[in-house]
C-alpha cells in the first residue's frame, strides 16, 4: 500500500491518525477482513475527538485500505485483485490463480438492440440484435463488480439459453468454437450510481473503477462488449513492458 507520502511527517491531526492506522495494517497488526476498533476507541487511543477519528476513517476508505460493512463497522480491505489487461485469462481463472475464490451470479438476460452509443463502440448498425447479460461477480464472498455484457446475437445464435453463472469465454470457446483474439480495453475511475451501487450493496456515489472491453473473433467480427463497474478498492491494474 504505497500511496502514502513517505516524506511528510507533518500535517493535520486526522492524517496522523490515518498514518497510525495505515501503519498497523502494513505491519500486519490489523489483518485483512478484521474489524477495526470502534470510533470511540480509536479517538481515545489516538488522543483525539470522534470527529477527527471519522475523518481519518473516511480517508482510509477513499484510499481503499478499509471498507464499511452494513452497520457492523469498519474492516481492513483484503489485497486488491491483480489484473493485467494484456494477458488472456478469464475473471475466474485470474481470481483462482491468486489463491482466492470467485463466484458469478447472473442477474438478468434480455434481448435488446444496438443503440447509438453501442454502435460507436462495436461498429454494428443501430437496431442490430444483441443479448444483454447482467452479472455480479464476487471474490471470497464479497461482491467486487457488476457488469453489463452485450453479445452479438447474430454471431451467437441461441446464446440466451445458456447458463451464465460460469466463464463466458469458456462457453464461447466450447459451444461456438470462438477465440476472442482482439480486445480494446478502456479503464478510468468513476462514481457508482444505481443500479450498480445497489447491486454491489454500497451507497450511490461510492468510488468505482469503470472498465470496458470490446472483443472480436479471429476474423475481426464483433462478439461482445463488456462494461464492468468495480468497487474502487478491489482491483490493481498491473502491466509489464519489455
Amino acid at each position: 500500500m504505497p500511496e502514502r507520502d513517505h516524506s511528510a511527517a507533518i500535517g493535520p491531526i486526522y492524517l496522523r491518525v490515518r498514518d497510525h492506522i495505515a501503519d498497523q495494517i502494513e505491519q500486519g497488526l490489523l489483518q485483512p477482513n478484521s474489524r477495526l476498533p470502534s470510533e470511540r476507541v480509536l479517538a481515545e487511543s489516538n488522543n483525539t475527538t470522534r470527529v477527527t477519528a471519522r475523518l481519518a476513517l473516511a480517508q482510509l476508505e477513499a484510499e481503499g485500505r478499509i471498507y464499511r460493512s452494513n452497520r457492523r463497522g469498519w474492516f481492513v480491505s483484503p489485497p486488491r485483485l491483480v489484473y493485467n489487461p494484456t494477458e488472456d485469462y478469464s475473471f475466474s481463472e485470474n481470481v483462482m490463480a491468486q489463491g482466492r475464490t470467485p463466484a458469478t451470479e447472473t442477474l438478468e438476460v434480455t434481448p435488446t438492440e444496438v443503440t447509438a452509443w453501442l454502435a460507436s463502440k462495436t461498429g454494428l448498425a443501430e437496431g442490430d440484435s444483441l443479448v444483454r447479460l447482467r452479472r455480479r461477480r464476487q471474490v471470497d464472498g464479497r461482491p467486487v463488480l457488476v457488469e453489463n455484457i452485450y453479445l452479438n446475437a447474430r454471431r451467437l445464435p441461441g446464446i440466451e439459453r445458456f447458463d451464465f453463472n460460469r466463464s463466458l469465454w469458456k462457453l464461447l470457446r466450447e459451444h461456438y468454437g470462438l477465440e476472442l483474439v482482439r480486445k480494446q480495453i478502456e479503464m478510468f475511475p468513476t462514481a457508482l450510481i444505481d443500479p450498480q451501487a445497489e447491486a454491489l450493496g454500497v451507497t450511490a456515489g461510492t468510488a468505482g473503477l469503470y472498465v470496458t472491453r470490446c472483443s472480436r473473433d479471429q476474423d475481426g467480427c464483433f462478439v461482445e462488449f463488456d462494461e464492468e463497474f468495480w468497487l474502487h478498492d478491489t482491483l490493481s491494474i498491473q502491466v509489464e513492458v519489455g
Copy 2:
C-alpha cells in the same frame, strides 16, 4: 462518456437531473471548459430544489464529467488524456500527440536514500543513494498530476544538476545513453491527500488515480521509480490486445 446505465430511465430525481446535464454535455450543448449554469438556475430549469441540483452536480463531479474551479463555479471536464501503458512515449509526447499542450514544473530536487518501501519496489538495498524529484504536470494549463520520482544516483552521476522542466526520458537518453526498456506499471484508484491535493489545488479527499512505474535499463539495472498522483477525471487508460 459511457458509464451511464442506458437501460435505466427511472430512479431518484437527482439522477434524472444528472442525466439531463450529462445529455447536454454528450450532445455538445455544453462544451469542454465552459461554465455550467448556477445551482439556482439548474434547480429552476429542472423544476427541483437546490439541494437536489447540488446532489446531481456532486455525482457528475465524481464521474469526472464536470469539475469545480475555486469559487468560480462548475465547468465541463475536457476529454480525458488517453494513456496506453504498453506504449513507449513520454508524457509530453503523448499530450502533444492528442493536440493538447503539456507543461512541467519542478517543485523539488533532493538527495534521499532507499527506504524499506523503496527497497521492495526497486530491488536496491536500504540506505542506497537516490535523488528525489518532485514535479507537477499540466495539460492545457490545468494541473493533472503531481509525481515523486526516485532516481538511482549511482547509475546517474550528476543527475541532480539538470533542468527537469522537460522530458526526463529524453534527458536520460541524451546524457546517459540510457533506454528504459523494462517497465513495471501499477495503477489503482485512490483519494488524494496533502501534499498532493494541495499541489493540485483540490481539497484533501478528492478522488485520484495512483500510478507507479519502475523502469530499468537494457541490463535490468534499476534507473527510476515514478509515483504519480493524477486527478481522477483527467486520464483514460486504454490497451489494445491482439
